[in-house]
Symmetry: C2
Subunit: 488 residues, 2 copies
């Protein structure tokens, strides 16, 4: 663990939640439910409400000052009008950090409220207290048993996420979790009155628990500091940036959301190019790039693609989708075609590239395995894109401490596990990156097979077009990084 000053903020030993509902019998919701779901020690959670002595079975205190020592972190869900007084109490209590879910400050567009926000930051900084927000969801740190919502994975991972939007922080966590990706930390930091993107990205760069950094940003208030932080971070780990408010309409929405003055698309594109960051245009691209960057696909060195798919018309549309992103589908050489013809005698033209072979249950499965192993070693190619159809039945793997699956979850299907292992074995043995495209009848990319395969280091995408886009963005990024030190 590094000695970065923000480390303590991400690992509080105790948390007070100020403004919880006063009903002693209510089921925990929101922030309290998040902490309990993650297994934060119950005796270090301090509900604060002057009109209650107990909340959801926990002793409740009238003010922060009445809580047992020490209170490291405070979550404020009270209305705006009480925020300044609460901060004064927190300073007196010598807490480390205050997270204001409380909104109604600079994002409203009223100069008086913006001034109130600045005054709180000034007071906090003078006392050495850090503010998160206001107008945000705060912290998700599975290794510290922190979460701002129930249902997030308990298992820590290696992706650091920061988001100026709470909804988009959840979209990052949910979208990545469904694909099997786990996070080291996520911070939703709203108006960024105190803790802002440059400092958080600097922390992520130094954090040994974080190997990839993804960010949803709205403001570029301190452009120079942000540029420098991204540039430094991108030298040592991949950084994916999704910028909200990149169009005029989006920028207007951003102003009323976090009071951000958004920059233009061209400016942001230049920032990514010059810093070596990856630019995601949509939330889905952020998810896809994170999958690619945390698997072997991160090493893809060029556009020459072998495509294995089930069905001629699907292959035709897939070839179009790959070509639209600038990927090539050169013909396999005669030697490789000869090997394939031995195993797929009825092949005809369908073994040149694209190749008609399917990972589906049944006897064709073995043929597909041989074809994959053959084309993964074919000279002159940079990656293999292959479909992986089949039953939607495999439940996601469980981490120690996760709740048992609901009764409706179907049992693990060993054939699918074998297929997941086959993909990983071929990729490990040949060193050639694979991109799997998961086609299920219900179009749900978040099934257990996807997660099991990803866990073995193979990137899985919900469509050929999205796989192709991710590969194209990775290739562009690798060009931009040329001359920089190699990533670990």
């Amino acid at each position: 663990m590094s000695e970065h000053p923000l480390d303590a903020i991400f690992h509080p030993r105790s948390v007070a939640i100020v403004g919880l509902s006063s009903s002693p019998t209510a089921r925990p919701t929101g922030f309290l439910a998040g902490l309990l779901d993650q297994g934060f020690p119950r005796d270090r959670i301090y509900p604060v409400n002057p009109r209650a002595t107990e909340v959801a079975g926990l002793p409740c205190y009238p003010t922060v000052l009445d809580c047992p020592d020490p209170v490291d972190h405070v979550i404020s869900i009270i209305p705006r009008t009480g925020a300044a007084d609460l901060l004064a109490q927190c300073i007196q209590k010598r807490v480390r950090s205050v997270h204001f879910f409380t909104a109604g400050f600079s994002e409203v567009g009223d100069p008086a409220l913006a001034a109130a926000e600045r005054a709180m930051v000034k007071a906090a900084r003078a006392a050495g207290v850090r503010l998160i927000g206001p107008n945000c969801m705060g912290l998700y740190v599975p290794s510290a048993h922190l979460a701002f919502s129930a249902g997030f994975p308990k298992e820590p991972g290696h992706v650091f996420a920061l988001s100026q939007s709470g909804v988009n922080a959840s979209a990052i966590i949910d979208g990545l979790s469904a694909r099997g990706v786990r996070l080291s930390k996520c911070v939703s930091f709203g108006n960024a009155a105190d803790l802002a993107a440059p400092e958080l990205i600097g922390y992520a760069a130094a954090d040994p628990e974080s190997q990839v950094v993804v960010a949803y940003l709205e403001s570029v208030r301190d452009g120079r500091a942000l540029f420098e932080a991204i540039r430094r971070c991108a030298r040592v780990k991949p950084v994916v940036l999704l910028k909200g408010g990149i169009t005029e309409a989006g920028a207007r929405a951003a102003r009323s959301h976090t009071g951000s003055l958004a920059g233009s698309a061209a400016v942001f594109e230049a920032l990514c190019r010059q810093t070596g960051a990856l630019h995601a245009e949509t939330m889905e691209e952020l998810h896809d790039l994170t999958v690619a960057l945390t698997t072997q696909l991160r090493t893809v060195a060029g556009p020459r693609t072998v495509l294995m798919g089930n069905g001629g018309g699907f292959s035709v549309l897939s070839a179009d989708a790959l070509a639209r992103e600038g990927l090539d589908l050169p013909e396999l050489n005669e030697a490789t075609q000869a090997v394939l013809r031995e195993h797929v005698p009825e092949a005809g033209n369908s073994i040149r590239n694209p190749i008609d072979a399917a990972f589906v249950d049944g006897p064709r499965q073995r043929v597909a395995e041989i074809v994959l192993a053959t084309v993964a070693e074919a000279p002159g190619f940079d990656l293999v894109v292959t479909t992986a159809d089949g039953p939607d039945a495999l439940p996601p793997p469980r981490a120690p401490g996760d709740a048992p699956p609901p009764p409706s979850t179907l049992p693990v299907q060993p054939p699918q596990l074998v297929v997941a292992a086959t993909f990983a074995d071929v990729q490990d043995r040949t060193g050639r990156p694979l991109a799997l495209v998961r086609r299920t009848r219900d179009h749900n990319p978040a099934d257990g097979f996807t997660v099991q395969t990803y866990r073995r280091g193979v990137a899985v995408f919900p469509s050929v077009a999205r796989a192709a886009r991710a590969v194209a963005l990775i290739l562009r990024w690798r060009c931009q990084r040329e001359g920089l030190p190699p990533l670990v």
Copy 2:
């Protein structure tokens, strides 16, 4: 019913399937399973196999000539080498149509096999027998109890689909079914040796059961006839075209798939522009356009959009997505904002447009309903895009004759039905088209709420970006159609 000569092909009274597995006890699969699943009369299905007397409980005949009279339609799943002899028997038996699932003809790239295909067409035409294929899946006609696979909806609808690819025919049917769309007919016609796109589109144009025509095409062999057929059809009903092989790599794949010589993107784009057809670039766009064209969204007259969404950061990204497709988000006028402020007192800037209001369970629901009713009547707008979050629990509605839902399906949730009705009521009352964006935690667009809402005439999309794209394509199409007679 019109008297079009192809009507009889789409409504056979009896079907022989030649080349079925000879095991009398095997469970029906493939084409036989499709017919039985649709409820085609068992005593009009004739399995043909010289080595069996019974297949899946049905009497089996040694040849087509041995089947009871009349045999209207024959499905061939025998190897290529027997195809010509089978056709000779079919001619002798005076069948109307032969569907060759059998492949291995012109698509292989061998001149001798292409000549064999041409010879079969010549023989069939001389005898007045129509060929479907070869190398295709054939017919899905729910009103005639025909299907090439089990699991397709039994309920007929008003969308006519044609596809040169069997896999893409299934992708059209499955993808549309999941969204609630039902088909009048679908024909997978492979190499198009006899029945080809121009004639099929001409039939679709005249078919009173079909209101929208969607096509996956690979070849433009008879360009002038195709152009004329599309132009005539597009004058009377919307036509959506998805062209495979539009890039060089895709064209190479198409050659080995259906032996098609594909045209360039520019040529095809010009064809769509000049004929008044809609050009879908991907299968997802074909689905989205079909949803849009079969709901009120078909009438959208301009780009001025009100966006209702849950969550500031989501609204920001959504505004960017709309702007990327050329849609506008003008501010609501002061009078409308004043009405909204009465109902959303904490609104701040979030009622200008986009508007932060959510259709979720709970007390906020009622507020969202009022907001929707208000903005749908705001002057100066062309459509409302709104999210519809919530539980994923509503099962799709069942048609009479559909199998009962599996035991794992959750019961209908009345609140969601109420929400579906609310959207439809607002759209019907104001005449302003809605586009719903369904956000579920598992990213599955195919849930019951989606289907229930679509059934009430409201278009539902899996993301804002896809809704925006569909609207942009509809607007472009409406411009192209100016001067043409209005559609029914």
